[in-house]
Subunit: 324 residues, 5 copies
């Protein structure tokens, strides 16, 4: 589905144009065409591939989807694949990933969104408000799109960070081991999804600002370094969460064992509290001919008192050594 | 066993030829010969080694098999070893690996399959339908073979991914710890087989598209980058599965311990439920002369009621604290 | 909030100046202006960005904060972000981080502190006492600021090291497992905060003394190597603590299990000590017609003696094998 | 002890010569001398060091032994240290390591074996059968020796792999945890010995075929790449075994805990089976005046039947839930 | 404290000189002055810093101590910091570290020892016996000092290796888990001290023999490679010990759990042995009117025989299944 097809000249929007007119503008010196597609059909993409002279391997990648994030150079054009990551707030929220493939040439930029809800209307609006920057051409639009995709990782990261904090608050609480370990496992799965979006992109972005850079992004290196910097920050936070999570899992194992010990102590304490009077009752249930206590008028009550007395003592003792 | 021996000129098939005629074509400028062998005898391979002037060390590798995946340069020819990985669907399916050794020179390409069932008929058919690409010569055939072998890794990867998901669904289920840990161990073994096919090949493929590349693959760098990209994607998925598996094993250890605690709690609860009436019975089994309850008309029934009453209370209590 | 705005000429302080006069000095050859801001408003920073011609991306970073530590080159100026780490002594002390953003050009240095209590008055005083070094200009001030921030990491590191030692003293003590594991987890969290301040900065600082260095710090390479060296030392200590901590957590798990075993042994020993006389009492509670012991005059006392005797023996035995 | 001292000319053996005659041949253009020593005395080595002009540091290394594997360049000569690894088949077999130090110059090659049983007679025989390759000179002999040492690692690797498989077959078997964990520990020790022989050598060998190579091995790069390739294959297998072993140890821990749980379940089940009839017996041992069952003619048998009945039910139940 | 101050000319000792005369010799072409200090006062060091023109940052490092091992280049001089590690034999022996800072210029070498007992008298003696090597000048003395410090690591490494072996012998022994885990933790602490002495030094030493080397050590590269080689060997051994230790800790955890299982089995077995006769006694303590066994003349003895018989059977059974 075609979302937009707009031609820009010297940083200013000229007009919305139909796809067929692209070839009229794409050859002009100061112009570039910005096309946005959403889940395009094979034919839609083929038309644009023809117009812009896209490489068949890149077109195939964009069509099939499920690529890893990357930025590839094809002669004088760039092909970027970004993962979008969405983590809606809510009780049954699941993390969702989509893909944006971006083809960038001197006079065109084509974005192909797949399985993503949020579009880039705001990117277009923002860049159109900054004609002095948009003059840099399609390379600047690439930056604006990447910057937006990357900035959308931060709330996801924050949500995952909060989940870890929630778990950390529970981790030393008794009897929460099962839910903690389930939560840690689920968190790890989400974190890996985010990590797989961030790490390969970080690596690729590094090639857009240091040393030799593709012609299209020349002069924009500080902008791409900024994107790299954001990615690196997310990367570092992910690594921090991962490390704390690994420790949290170990700690959880320790808490489970501690809990086992506490249960065993409780078991032992109550066993003693029941077994001792049972023993006493057994003694006074013996059938010896001569057992003077049996003859006492209040022998029975004395024996009950003995049982309670010992148990009260045991109870106090187990309380003191924290077995109960 | 000779599977095929075909000569191509300017991207088009000329003819099937007998092995003896190879020398007639291999010296012509625009021709190349594509030979496919399956589990060849020492003699079959020796003949072709002679025809193409293959390096004895490479021939020895292809003959002996059990090489690690690699791509080696011998002067102006290439020698590649790929692992094929097969994981048939079915109850007793086992992962199986085979090997394909490929010798590529300017005018020839020779593939030697060992311990593999699936051949490359479809590769030959596909490339013959694309004469404009087949014009690139033997280097393009190398790409087509590698691309096919690598694409066949994806269903294996998907199967392993599904196995992990199956385990993940079981991992928090009670009493599944033993089967989970067996499944995790078996999965790890399979994953390492796939990893050993993918990782060394990825490393080697990286040398076919960046910086100086062997003459034979010149102009095809974007194709080999595509193969590299697929390998990198598989590599990343493997690493993701490995990481989740490591965590799953730890989680499983935690579940085992949790289970132990739950068994201990059950044991303790039932012990209490039996021990308390035993104690009461013991008390009324004492032989004191003066025990008024013993004289009551319904003392026996009261005592039984006491026992049941306490046990009902205990049972309710243990249910509430989830020990039962 | 503006803290200071001072102009220096040939290493000596000329005068405190108002912000508006900066432009008079910033163009003079031997002068540089040193401005210090604390939690500046958007407007304050905008004025200075204008005066010094700062890059908008860097200004945005300084304004927004929450950057990772870094040193970036913008044409002929540098932009550094440092994390300050504070760990006050005291019972409820928490580790606190702040940020210092530093813009350095040939004729100016601007530091922007955020969320930090300790200022850099002492740095200014110290550098003013060393005019021969201050002659190096703004680059030397950058060194002095970095040196100070890094030196302030050492007491934090020492505090964390002491905490590890405190835990180590407790780790083999019985019944301290729960508090140990809580302390280890908390220590790990603090350590990661320090690590995230140190590691990225170390990496960036490495670019200020080896190979090609930015013009501003030329001739000061041995000073920045010294900063790097301090960072490397902290880095190594952190890694050492991390490694010991990982082992300490494992050891703690072992101590928990050992403890469980000891509790089980105690349980078993006491169970035996109670169960054996209960059995004897049961035997003499049997109703056989002919049980000669029951007729003995002191049978009862003999039976009690038997019970105590066996229990004394069991107790001694369990003591000897360290189950009690 | 001198094993051999032979002079070769243009790839063919000239003669066995006494050590004193070495200097006559070592200066001729097409000749090289191949000397083999076994556990040489200080004097023997000193004589040859003098003859060949060996570097004192290398001679000291060869004399003292206990070096790590390495290949060092001394001006126009090479000094290599290889570890031999022997793992005889048999019940009490222990892994044994020895050392071979090799000095290679243009006109000589000197091998010094220490603590090794297997010599290199077969290497000498094989190379003498291939005069066209032996023409490459001492560099080719170095290759042949390295190739032989490395090929002798494979059976050791296979043996260790089989040991892992043996353990894997036992790992899910009940009550084998203690022997498994002992076997895993012992296997790890052996694996590290092999790893310490392979990894440093692999690293050093890499320098003999890529980029600039020492003059002595020029033209033999494909041969040394082949050695490297074998080392890399062993390295990868070792890493695979190590990884599976790490998982196996974790799995073993899990099996131990599972076993504990099973023992606890058994304990609980039998405790219940004994405790319930004990309770019933206790009830009918009470001394209430009015207990109608006691008067029944077959009350005793009914009570026994009740006990057996409940126990049979419990037994069946515990069997069904796999506690017994 | 000044230990020595000697001037050498062309590899031979000229004279012991007072510090004040240093400046007379330090400017002569073939001379160099070798000064050794121990725990010097601020003034002592300042005098020599003045004489030799040492860099203030290096002097500060030497004065303050607690540096990490390193070798830094200051224009045409070198500054090295080495850690000495001492591990005396004996029951309460603790590992102790000291520091040696070495300043090396063309015509001088100054060593500053701190917190170290062993001096370098033997180094001085040995080098004076080798005037042909001492001719290399101060660089050779640097080598000799480094070689000595590094050689003194070997006995420490051996001691730690022996400690690991001692632990390994205990690790599968019952009831040694607590002492094993304490020993493993203590060993790890010592190992990290040694590692922190070795690893950074190894890294720095690598810069003294490959590629461009500082002028002072030119021509001595094979000697520094030898030092590097020793360091690498120690490094590898440390890594090997670390890896075995990590496994040993895991194994220890497994042994603790195994022990727990064995205790539980013992508990269960004895519980059964006591509970069964208790049950029998309970049965014959029932008060049914009609219990024929009670009337039997030897009923009591039969019942005792039954109890003993069953227990003997149980005991044998538990022995056979290794629960007792």
């Amino acid at each position: 589905m075609l979302i937009n097809c707009v031609v820009y000249k010297k940083g200013r929007k000229l007009a919305d144009i139909p796809v067929e007119d692209i070839s009229d503008y794409v050859t002009q010196e100061d112009c570039f065409v910005w096309v946005a597609l959403l889940d395009p059909s094979h034919e839609e993409l083929a038309v644009l591939a023809e117009e812009f002279g896209l490489h068949p391997l890149a077109v195939e990648d964009a069509q099939k989807g499920h690529q890893r994030p990357k930025i590839e150079e094809y002669e004088d054009s760039l092909f970027a694949v970004l993962h979008t990551v969405d983590y809606p707030v809510g009780p049954d929220a699941e993390i969702r990933t989509g893909e944006v493939a971006i083809f960038v040439g001197r006079n065109y930029i084509l974005s192909v969104r797949q399985r993503t809800e949020k579009g880039f209307i705001d990117v277009r609006a923002r860049t159109e408000r900054e004609p002095e920057l948009l003059q840099y051409g399609s390379g600047y639009v690439l930056y604006a799109l990447m910057d937006t995709v990357v900035d959308r990782y931060f709330p996801v990261l924050d949500a995952l960070g909060s989940e870890l904090e929630d778990i950390e608050e529970q981790i030393f609480v008794r009897n929460s081991a099962r839910s903690n370990i389930e939560a840690l496992y689920a968190l790890k799965q989400k974190l890996i999804i985010l990590k797989h979006a961030v790490d390969p992109l970080m690596e690729s972005t590094g090639k857009l600002y240091g040393g030799r850079v593709p012609q299209i992004v020349a002069g924009l290196q500080e902008y791409f370094r900024d994107v790299y910097d954001h990615l690196h920050r997310i990367h570092q936070s992910i690594e921090g969460i991962r490390e704390m999570m690994a420790t949290a899992i170990q700690v959880n194992l320790g808490m489970i064992s501690l809990n086992e010990t506490e249960v065993t102590k409780k078991l032992a304490a109550w066993a003693a509290i029941i077994a001792v009077p049972t023993l006493i009752a057994g003694v006074y249930g013996m059938n010896f001919k001569q057992m003077p206590e049996l003859e006492w008028a209040h022998g029975y009550y004395y024996s009950l008192a003995l049982m309670f007395g010992i148990d009260a003592g045991l109870y106090a003792w187990f309380k003191r050594i924290h077995w109960l």
